[in-house]
């Protein structure tokens, strides 16, 4: 690490940061609609985004700064096992192709802003909807905190994160400024701010990756050398490898599948989805979003390059920023850091909006003030989005980073437990609402306990997300095991509750709601088999 502050890189970083700040505030005027005080406007950008904006927004949302830092960091530390992020993102798109358009349609028809709104409407159960909302908020909070960790990593490498000797205030000041600005424009512009900034973020990221993937291998003597150096390192360390060992393959596959199932359960993914203009925007996006997966794959390879470039860091999170600083001229390192930094702001904004929407719609309106007007809803959402960010900030500044990472790991396991209620509910009303609730609770409990029991060389608990699958004996992703357990419990109990004729709750949706496409007269009712049978 170079000593002191990297002036040129910092100047470039600040330039881009200021540029997006201005954009963030101006975004409030972008495509403004008449009714600017409704939650649809602030929290979903007026549900008006077309294919390209949605693409940038979703890309900016799903591929976060933390992803950019953590995926190569995992490769840097463990080799092939960290590459599961690529099959994971490959599987996401065929998966959402099947259910996301249905969610869009039913949400559009009934004015749902969150997934919990849908669950409440479909199953007539405030309890189940509350469970989904709380899970969503719990899973999102640490995710926001990790975006801060991403910014911190960049600031550290630029030399403004402060060393051990600076006092805490000076050390954290840049982070406080960055988040103050973020909070201010999210408050004033809502979802439009991250949508606009996402353009800058993704453009920068694509430029940086394209340059990195060509320039760095040339400087390091080609991929042969890079993988040779990496292989030697793993062999010497006695951990990791260039390809996953036989024993690691179950883990690899279950992590990929479980994460793919979980991704669109996260509130921020749904917020970005519901902001799109039509059903087709979503389907079209499933065909162009994989471009980001390609980028992610290339990015992951940077982890090997960090090894070959001789980057030595104890904190793996710093490997990639450090690689950039070592390999790139200062000004371009600045561009790369700006890409990561802005890459943290976009998802943090969307996540805080998503969490705020959940709170407002499914806790505030359902349980505290049922007669809230749209203006009040928007006001509460705006305030909560601030609170959520402050909470995340406090979390990062007061607690050890590993706590945020542990919680994020747990968050992934938890959010997957809402899958049966949400995706199940999109296709069938067969599941009983109480069964879904018990299934969810069992999944949450098992997942949390199992994760607690995983030790790693550095941690006694929450040492990883994989554990022996009971009954199979292979090591698999805890989230997926918990999910299977969840589904089994739900199915068994549904039979039981139905046998005892437990009250089913009122379903306010009808089959054709799931295929409706607003403002598109050419699209007629499409009745996939699952719905056709579900309502009878």
């Amino acid at each position: 690490m170079k000593d002191g502050v990297n002036g040129v890189a910092l100047a470039v970083f600040i330039f881009f940061f200021l540029a997006v700040t201005v954009m963030g505030f101006l975004a409030a005027r972008w495509r403004r609609a008449d009714d600017e005080h409704s939650l649809d406007e602030w929290g979903l950008g007026g549900r008006s985004f077309g294919t390209w904006i949605t693409w940038f927004l979703l890309g900016g949302d799903l591929y976060t700064a933390y992803t950019f830092v953590a995926v190569p960091a995992a490769i840097y530390a463990a080799g092939a096992a960290g590459f599961f992020a690529v099959p994971y993102t490959i599987l996401v798109y065929p998966l959402i192709f099947t259910f996301l358009p249905r969610l869009w349609s039913v949400s559009h028809k009934h004015g749902y802003v969150t997934t919990s709104d849908f669950v409440r409407g479909r199953f007539g159960s405030k309890g189940l909807s509350l469970a989904v909302a709380v899970t969503g908020i719990l899973a999102t909070m640490p995710y926001i905190a990790l975006q801060l960790v991403g910014i911190q990593a960049v600031l550290d490498v630029m030399g403004v994160g402060g060393g051990e000797n600076t006092n805490w205030f000076m050390k954290d000041l840049p982070l406080l400024i960055a988040f103050g600005v973020l909070a201010a424009y999210t408050y004033s512009s809502g979802l439009r701010a991250p949508a606009l900034i996402a353009f800058v973020k993704d453009t920068l990221i694509y430029i940086v990756i394209a340059v990195a993937i060509i320039y760095i291998p040339i400087k390091l003597g080609g991929f042969d050398e890079i993988f040779k150096a990496a292989g030697d390192k793993y062999t010497a360390a006695g951990a990791g490898g260039i390809v996953p060992a036989e024993a690691g393959q179950w883990t690899y596959a279950t992590l990929a599948l479980g994460s793919a199932l979980a991704l669109f359960m996260y509130p921020h993914s749904i917020t970005a989805t519901l902001s799109s203009r039509s059903r087709n925007v979503i389907r079209r996006n499933t065909t162009i979003l994989p471009l980001y997966s390609l980028m992610l794959g290339l990015l992951a390879l940077l982890g090997f390059m960090a090894i070959a470039a001789g980057v030595k860091v104890t904190n793996g999170q710093l490997a990639i920023p450090q690689l950039f600083e070592t390999m790139f001229p200062d000004w371009f390192a600045g561009v790369a850091f700006a890409a990561i930094g802005i890459g943290a702001l976009v998802p943090a904004a969307i996540m805080s909006i998503a969490a705020a929407n959940l709170f407002t719609r499914n806790i505030y309106k359902d349980f505290i003030k049922p007669d809230a007007t749209p203006q009040q809803e928007t006001k509460v959402s705006k305030l909560v989005s601030l609170l959520v960010k402050v909470g995340a900030l406090v979390f990062v500044l007061t607690m050890d980073k590993t706590v945020a990472i542990n919680f994020q790991l747990l968050g992934g396991i938890w959010i997957l437990q809402t899958f049966p209620a949400l995706v199940g509910g999109l296709f069938t009303r067969w599941f009983h609402r109480w069964a879904l609730l018990v299934g969810w609770a069992v999944g949450m409990l098992y997942g949390t306990l199992a994760a607690y029991g995983v030790a790693s060389p550095t941690q006694k608990h929450f040492g990883g997300s994989a554990k022996e699958i009971p009954g199979i004996g292979e090591i698999g992703y805890i989230g997926l095991t918990a999910f299977v357990l969840n589904v089994v419990v739900t199915v068994v109990l549904t039979f039981a509750f139905r046998a005892f004729k437990a009250p089913e709750g009122i379903d306010e949706t009808s089959p054709e709601d799931y295929t409706a496409d607003a403002g598109d007269p050419g699209v007629e009712a499409e009745l996939p088999p699952a719905t056709a049978g579900a309502s009878h």
């Binding site: 590459f83 490959i90 042969d224 996953p244 599948l257 054709e512 009745l527």
Partner: protein, 87 residues
């Protein structure tokens, strides 16, 4: 929407089977880790394990795109035959 009970085209048609296969193929390919957990053949120095999965990003994109096009066509066909008895 279709509030009048029409004679519906069958729910499972060859086109829909193809769509399902397009969407399902990536799952088989990616979850069968044993089929690609090896270093050779390498491509410009990148072990098989890595370039193969990146190649699948492109393959699955193409497959999803095909599924999308077929689905659109399927929907249009259904929209025009709505009210007819064609099955």
């Amino acid at each position: 929407m279709s509030d009048v009970p029409e004679v519906k085209p069958p729910a499972v048609t060859p086109v829909r089977v193809v769509i399902a296969l397009c969407l399902f193929a990536p799952f088989v390919a990616m979850l069968w880790v044993g089929s690609y957990a090896k270093t050779d053949p390498a491509f410009i120095g990148i072990p098989f394990f890595y370039w193969y999965q990146m190649l699948w990003v492109l393959i699955s994109t193409a497959l999803t795109m095909i599924a999308y096009k077929l689905w659109q066509r399927d929907q249009r066909a259904r929209a025009t035959t709505k009210g007819g008895v064609e099955a």
